[in-house]
Structures are given as C-alpha cells and as structure tokens.
C-alpha cells in the first residue's frame, strides 16, 4: 500500500492500481453521503481531480494519485456511500487505473512515511 498527501491510498496488482481514501480522510470527512466516480475508459493524470466525496459537512475532491486509464469504478460506494466510513481502506475502494508507468507507484509514500506526514498536520 502507498499513500498520497491528499489522503488517498493505492495498492498495485500487476499494472492495475486500486485507489481509495484513507481512514484518516474518512474520519475527517465524517458521514459520507455522496460519491461521484470517474467513468471507465477515462484517461487521468497524476494529481487530476477525478472523484468527489461528500459528507454531511463538506465536499472534497479525490485526485488520481498516478497517471493512467480508469478501468473500473466501485458502484457499491455510489449506491451506499456510508461504506466509505466503514471500510475506507478495503472494500470501499473508489476506482482502478491501468498505470501508464507502474514504476511510478514506488515513488509514493509508504505507510511509515504517510504516518509521519499525518503527524505533521
């Protein structure tokens, strides 16, 4: 698992990266009531806003942590946004992307680096 400063997590299987928001992010947002996901087939750049997650309190963009093409979006969290609060770092993933450069995954923060980053906030 790798992490971004925008509080996304990424896991890699072959060339397919699965992206979600971290437990820290879901806790800060509070009860999630709406999720908007990218369409399969959309090309996304690293750092591009491509999803939206809204809680009762606020709306927040979710950025693509890496460059590639969206291959799947998780309809389950659109149908039941509260899953994001229950399972942010497992079944409530947001989307999967076929990476343009799988090696770029390694440049993201690992768990220890993300934890250290959280402690600076």
């Amino acid at each position: 698992m790798r992490y971004t400063k925008d509080h996304e997590w990424v896991s890699l299987a072959g060339t397919i990266a699965t992206v979600g928001i971290t437990n820290h992010a879901q806790d800060a947002l509070g009860d999630v009531v709406f999720v908007e996901l990218p369409e399969a087939g959309r090309d996304v750049e690293e750092g591009e806003a491509c999803s939206v997650v809204e809680s009762v309190k606020a709306a927040s963009d979710v950025y693509s942590p890496l460059t590639g093409r969206v291959v799947e979006a998780n309809q389950a969290i659109v149908d039941e946004p509260g899953l994001v609060n229950q399972a942010a770092e497992s079944s409530a993933w947001f989307f999967k992307i076929e990476l343009a450069d799988p090696a770029a995954f390694d440049a993201l923060m690992d768990a220890a680096a993300y934890q250290a980053f959280l402690e600076t906030l």
């Binding site: 009531v33 908007e36 009762v56 309190k57």
Partner: protein, 368 residues
C-alpha cells in the same frame, strides 16, 4: 481570521470529555459533532431528544418603562403586544431596510424583555440597540449565562422530570423556574423544527444541568453539524447564509414577522425601504430547492433558469438525513419562485436538475 484565542463556553470541558470534535465558530470553540457523528445525531434528535450547547449566542435584557416601544423602533415585529410569558421571533433592521440580525424576544413582565441574538452578530447588535434607547431603558448583556437547547419529541418527557411545569407550556411560551436549584429561563422553542426547549442557565450551573439531562436515556449530545442539517430541513434561516445586511425581509420571505398594526404604521428603522419593496414586488425570493439527484448543492452554488440564464444562488445546502436526500434553499428571480419551477444547479461545472419546493423539507412538529 484573527489570532485571538477562541472563547470557551461554560460546557467546554464537558464537550471534550464527551469526545466532541471542536471547531472555531463565531469566535468560540464549539463541538461540530461527537463520536456518534452528524447523521446519527440528526436522526436521534428527530426520534428522541438531543442536547445542544448554544452558549455562544448572545443573551441580554432590555429593561425599563417603554422597553417594548423602544425595541419596536428597531424591529418590524409587534413587541408592545407581546404578552408576559411569551416569546417571539423578530428581526433587527438596518436603515436600508435589510436584516442586521434575527433574534428571539421574550416578555418577562414588568418592562423586562429577554433577547437571544446570534453569536456572530452580538458585538454588532448590542451596541446598535444601546445606541437607540431612551434614557429610561437599559440594555444588559448576560455574559454569565449559558444556553442549552433540548430538542426532539421526547424533550418534554425529559425536562418534565426536572420541572413538571414545562409540560403545559405552549409553543413560544416562556417561564422562569428552578432547575436543580438554579434559576433558569425556559422557552418552548428551538431551531430544529421539533418540539423542545431553550434553557438559559447561570454559567456555574450549566455543566451540572447538562450532565443531568444527558444522563436521561432519551438524550444524546448534538453538535453544530446536526444543528445545521436540522434547521435546514426545517426551512429555518441561518444568519450570514440565508439572510444578512443585503437581504430585505420581503425577499427573505420573512414578512410574517410583521403584525397588521406594524404594517399600517411602518415606524421602524428601514421601514420605508421594506414598504417600497413590498409595494414594488421583490426582485428575488428565498425558496426551498430540491436537487433531483443524490448530489448535494452547497452554499454559493449558481442557480440557472431552464433557458440557461442566471437565476440566483444557493444560500444553504447539504444533505438532509431525515429526508435521505439533498436539500437546499436560496434566492431565485421572482419569476422563477413558484413551487414546481424547474431550475439547474451548477455543481462542479455541470447543470444538475432541481425544482422549487415549499419549505420546510421536514414538517415542523411544534406543540400547539
């Protein structure tokens, strides 16, 4: 933002003990939610009873011969006709006929009015009122009092255990009584659309009374997050969002605060401007707006007419937990204000379908 330290309410330590997530609001450190979360808190308040700390709000007394007449010079509501033991919602006005603040006024009898004003406006309201008083009337700010709200269908059962006389109070009734030995002002009112009470308590007794109420099985502490979603579903204005110094009560759909006498005499600050808008018709109106999909439309979202022209702006919007849908209110051009009118909301650059609906979104359940 300034670097001034935040004010703390008398319940600050209790909020932290309860796990409240503290945020700055109107110069105070306030709980936006507790561990249960906004959705649960909101739904619990509608199902049973919720306790809110609203001690950040301004409480003041206006005392002396002619107090009601003096206040009438600044508000459009009927203060002279307000009976002892009754409370009324009204508006402080600017000379431009716009809204300086909205407030509650209760009549304690013997030329004593009790005011509750918004936290974000008390530093403006109180000097404004003081500057317009005759010598016989004094304004006193009660910075030594806390304010709690107990709201929800079970609020009456809970509070009656401590003060049986509250059960017989009518909506907008007001009494002074003892709660656990402390002299409290209690009104049957609130900001959720539910039955309930607001309780003004000497600060040193606030934590003890809050703990006693929270110990009752029906009661859960509720933060500012659910307070906002509850009031939005109830169609109630939030000062600074839905009304401010640029809004006239006519366009804000708040002319119901005026009595027949006051609409005859037009003798309050800014009255000529209000009357002029009433006679000419408002250019825009505050309405309820129902987004048709699941996406919430937040404050400042642009509203467009079916032909794509600019129609107005959302002033409050979010998710309504009891409606299980997004809810909003805002101002639209007067020609688009009829219930049922189709609109588009520009959310993240895309037009989302919506329509004008009657307020409230969730029916009021005040005792009558």
């Amino acid at each position: 933002m300034t670097d001034e330290p935040l004010n703390l309410t008398p319940l600050d330590a209790l909020h932290r003990e309860l796990g409240g997530k503290m945020v700055p609001f109107a110069g105070y450190s306030m709980p936006v939610q507790y561990p249960a979360g906004i959705l649960t808190e909101h739904l619990h308040c509608r199902a049973k009873a919720g306790l809110f700390d609203v001690s950040h709000m301004g409480q003041a007394s206006l005392r002396g011969p002619g107090a009601a007449a003096a206040l009438e010079a600044l508000v459009p509501g009927d203060m002279i006709g307000l009976q002892p033991g009754r409370q009324k919602y009204t508006l402080l006005m600017t000379a431009e006929g716009t809204i300086l603040d909205d407030l509650m006024v209760a009549n304690l009898g013997e030329d004593h009015l009790f005011l509750v004003v918004n936290a974000s406006r008390k530093h403006i309201d109180l000097p404004h009122i003081a500057a317009h008083l005759p010598k016989s009337v004094m304004l006193e700010s009660h910075t030594d009092r806390a304010l709690l709200a107990l709201q929800g269908p079970e609020a009456v059962a809970v509070l009656s255990r401590f003060a049986p006389e509250v059960a017989a109070m009518p909506f907008m009734g007001f009494i002074t009584t003892r709660l656990l030995g402390a002299t409290c002002h209690i009104s049957r009112s609130g900001y959720t659309g539910e039955d309930g009470y607001e309780i003004s308590i000497p600060a040193e007794h606030a934590t003890e009374i809050a703990r006693a109420l929270l110990a009752e099985p029906e009661v859960m502490p509720i933060g500012l997050g659910a307070r906002d979603s509850l009031r939005l579903e109830a169609g109630l204005c939030l000062y600074g969002n839905d009304i401010d110094e640029t809004t006239n009560p006519v366009e804000a759909a708040l002319m119901w605060v005026m009595s027949k006498r006051r609409k005859t005499d037009w003798d309050f600050l800014g009255a000529n401007k209000v009357r002029a808008m009433l006679e000419a018709g408002p250019p825009r109106k505050r309405v309820g707006i129902q987004p048709e999909g699941r996406a919430p439309a937040r404050g400042h979202t642009e509203i467009r007419a079916p032909d794509g022209s600019h129609a107005g702006e959302i002033t409050s919007g979010g998710f309504g937990p009891s409606c299980n849908a997004p809810v909003a209110m805002g101002y639209v051009r007067a020609d688009l204000a009829a219930v049922g009118t189709a609109l588009s909301l520009m959310v993240r650059g895309k037009p989302l379908p919506a329509r004008v609906v009657a307020l409230p979104f969730f029916p009021h359940r005040y005792v009558r």
